[in-house]
Symmetry: C2
DNA sequence: ACCGTTTCGATGCGCTTGCATCGGATCGTA
DNA sequence: TACGATCCGATGCAAGCGCATCGAAACGGT
């Protein structure tokens, strides 16, 4: 057998490089050559790790979603009162809004993929699945908070979850345009959640 | 003097063609050749109408924003009670959310340009100016509605306007993903506005 | 120690892109 | 009617793209 290299590690390394490129120059700014150069590998290596560019991009998207999920769970675990559904809800949504440099890059990449999903059904499917999972989680949190008396009893968890997610995405866009500061976005989110509270 | 052709009309014609292409295939799917073919003119004509592709795209964006503005004003004028700030507010926001085929195309193009603006400061400037104008209008409507007693007195017009715009943009994204129906989006918007009403 | 097998990095290819260029058609003028 | 200035549409061009291909290098089995 010939020597083995760490394929999975290389995939991650390339994915990170592509992520950076997309965050800086957008989706069409991420070429195979640039990705290879940024990752410090040859172009052939990129081709061997991913059968096609589309697969590479899908991997990058999945990898980013995984990172966001990890950060959300981390934020929930590190919160003062992890058991409270309301706290978990706030951390979940706050984990999506970019509050610092790295997550701003995430938001940029998210927007780039979102634009692609709007015209490419294949890409839309991936995004939609992610959103369905997120909406389920948020709806569950809202329902739990409602049942425990933290939020008003007349809110519909599913509808409210979708509305909250929409608001979060919209805040992301405003942030990327530079019309919002991260603090203002977080404040808007907080304000919205506060309006759900039971009196 | 040689014969004159309708330059401005041709610009509009090409802009409409580019708009359709972007709505169908995204920003990078709009090439000069395809634009010329779709508009039914030669490629040279496109080059003479717009000095560069960037200028053409900026014109397309401006043209679309103008169309949206026109539709909003039209909706306000056609509403049952044009004088009511609350009605105007609802029509303004509803004019942004895509409720039918043509405005879905608008939303697609909007998202495409939004993604570009996230990585291109030049494009971000254009978008930001548009949003500032929209935010001013919405804030004014909210303030008017508040002062006339239609909405609760404890809402901050500027903050609320930004939040409403963010929600609208988020709904647009969800719509494009196919997670929302236009009716559900409109319902969510209505629900949110209803929550602002004075009891 | 040798060789077959497998993986590596580099180069080539066909294609498309935005933009520049050029001959020919067009119209006012004398 | 002949001319010259002007504008039109088609073609050319250099660059960049994704992907295919290829010789060389690196191992394990015998």
């Amino acid at each position: 057998m010939p020597r083995q290299v760490d394929h999975e590690g290389r995939r991650l390394r390339i994915a990170r490089a592509v992520f950076d490129l997309v965050a800086e120059r957008g989706l069409e700014g991420a070429t195979l050559r640039d990705a290879a150069a940024r990752a410090g590998v040859s172009m052939g290596a990129v081709q061997r790790c991913f059968s096609t560019k589309e697969e590479m991009m899908a991997f990058v998207l999945e990898h980013m979603n995984q990172r966001v999920t990890d950060r959300i769970e981390e934020g929930i675990a590190a919160s003062a009162d992890p058991g409270s559904a309301m706290t978990m809800l706030e951390h979940t949504l706050a984990g999506i809004v970019p509050l610092d440099g790295p997550s701003t890059a995430e938001a940029r990449v998210w927007l780039a993929f979102a634009a692609q999903a709007a015209v490419d059904p294949r890409s839309a499917g991936l995004q939609r699945r992610q959103y369905d999972r997120l909406a389920e989680l948020v709806a569950l949190l809202v329902r739990t908070a409602r049942d425990s008396g933290d939020v008003r009893s007349d809110v519909d968890p599913e509808r409210e979850a979708d509305a909250l997610i929409a608001l979060t995405d919209g805040l992301n866009v405003q942030l990327l345009f530079g019309r919002f500061t991260p603090e203002a976005a977080r404040e808007a989110l907080r304000h919205r959640l506060h309006a759900l509270r039971a009196d």
